[in-house]
């Protein structure tokens, strides 16, 4: 379990990191490394050079406005879990963070790393999609903004162009009193999820229900979100019908067991959001 040789470089400044990343696809950024170092050790992937971006001020920054919170890409899951950074989500993000892997993983793993890897079973992609967050992405010449709903394109596939780096996520605040629910199914605590569902309701007539841990990338469940927005007290059998149709579309290759996992997490998340 030793990775093939590579060079490691801790970037001192953002321009330095971006310059190194633009030199070709044999250079990869590394933050916590809690997925990348595993993939390298298993020799599933390989790079000639890793550029450590965890100390870059731009990626450690957190900024608040009345309507949004910006969290830097190198903020760790444990920092979100422990409330060491501002929470835009009335408790949803700390709850989600506490369920990622194990504490030793959360001490290292980062928000940006989870988004950039786009593992189908990851927690932040569906969570930030439900919160309608926008990613701020730096390239060598310009910065651009990509809504999370347009960022994940498939398993391990994102809208990031070669040489680009996620600086962080701008997350609209859930207003006080906003309801949310989240549910995850995994064989054991901390293991890769079989299904993740996040329901966020910024207003009583506005609900976003997102399914994660499908075969591909997370999707907003259109019928279910629309029903819940139109009719916040919709009875569970109507929600069940809407969710089943959405799940068939969001994860078309799921077997019967996986579809049941999805239905269970979606209904559980909605129940929690309506409690």
């Amino acid at each position: 379990m030793k990775p093939a040789p590579f060079a490691y470089h801790r970037a001192a400044t953002l321009p330095e990191a971006l310059a190194m990343l633009s030199e070709g696809d044999e250079t990869a950024p590394v933050a916590g490394g809690q997925s990348l170092l595993v993939l390298l050790a298993l020799r599933i992937t390989g790079f000639d050079r890793l550029v450590d971006v965890t100390r870059l001020q731009e990626l450690r920054a957190c900024r608040e406005t009345d309507d949004t919170v910006f969290l830097g890409a190198a903020v760790t899951h444990a920092e979100i879990e422990d409330g060491q950074v501002p929470d835009p989500s009335q408790g949803l993000m700390p709850r989600v963070a506490a369920g990622i892997g194990y504490r030793a993983i959360r001490n290292r793993g980062t928000l940006g790393g989870s988004l950039a890897l786009s593992d189908p079973a990851a927690d932040w992609p569906p969570c930030l999609m439900a919160l309608d967050a926008t990613l701020v992405i730096a390239g060598q010449t310009a910065e651009r903004r990509v809504p999370v709903r347009d960022f994940h394109l498939g398993p391990y596939t994102t809208a990031l162009e070669p040489g680009e780096l996620i600086l962080g996520a701008e997350i609209p605040r859930l207003p006080e009193g906003a309801r949310w629910g989240c549910a995850k199914h995994a064989r054991k605590s901390g293991a890769f999820a079989d299904s993740i569902a996040i329901a966020a309701c910024p207003a009583p007539d506005r609900a976003r229900v997102v399914l994660g841990a499908s075969e591909s990338h997370p999707r907003q469940l259109a019928e279910t979100s629309a029903l819940l927005s139109r009719q916040p007290t919709a009875d569970e059998s109507a929600l069940r019908t809407a969710a089943a149709a959405d799940i068939a579309e969001a994860d078309p290759d799921a077997d019967a067991w996986r579809r049941r996992c999805h239905l269970a997490t979606v209904l559980k998340a909605i129940r929690e959001a309506r409690r």
């Binding site: 379990m1 030793k2 990775p3 093939a4 040789p5 590579f6 060079a7 490691y8 801790r10 490394g33 809690q34 170092l37 595993v38 390298l40 050790a41 298993l42 890793l50 450590d52 965890t54 444990a78 892997g101 194990y102 504490r103 030793a104 993983i105 001490n107 290292r108 054991k188 605590s189 901390g190």
Partner: protein, 167 residues
Amino acid sequence: MTEISVTLNGVETTVAIEDRTSLADMLRERLDQTGTRLGCEHGGCGACAVLLDGMPVRSCIVLAAMADGARVETLEGLLEDPIIAALSKTFHELHALQCGFCTSGMLVTARDILRRHSAPTRDTIRKELSGQICRCTGYVGIVNAIEAAGRDLASNEADKGTETAAP
């Protein structure tokens, strides 16, 4: 080879390593800290847990180079720690180990559980311990030992009426 410096168990230490060297391999092979065990070597078993700047990490999926300038504590450096002392006693009394291979990682993780949760419930202990794999005990003894150590520490603190701050 790259030269890095870490404060290992309180001692400033400089060592030359290959960039791909894991923190675990550096500790075991270059610095003789063999209390840190390597089980799966890809972040799955928890046996290699050590403290990096006071926080538990899996040393097989942290590069030694990432620890440059940081504080590293292995079980060898925690023998005087009051929480580890309480855990050692209850692990011994309550049969929380058989072969002992996972024990270093269990103790480092259990110490962190007891620092973050005062007198944790069995449910909390089980959830927090879910990343540490033991193939001998069936975990019952380990959960019992952490629960008992948590109770012992809480009652010691109540007796003293002051807070004992761990380092």
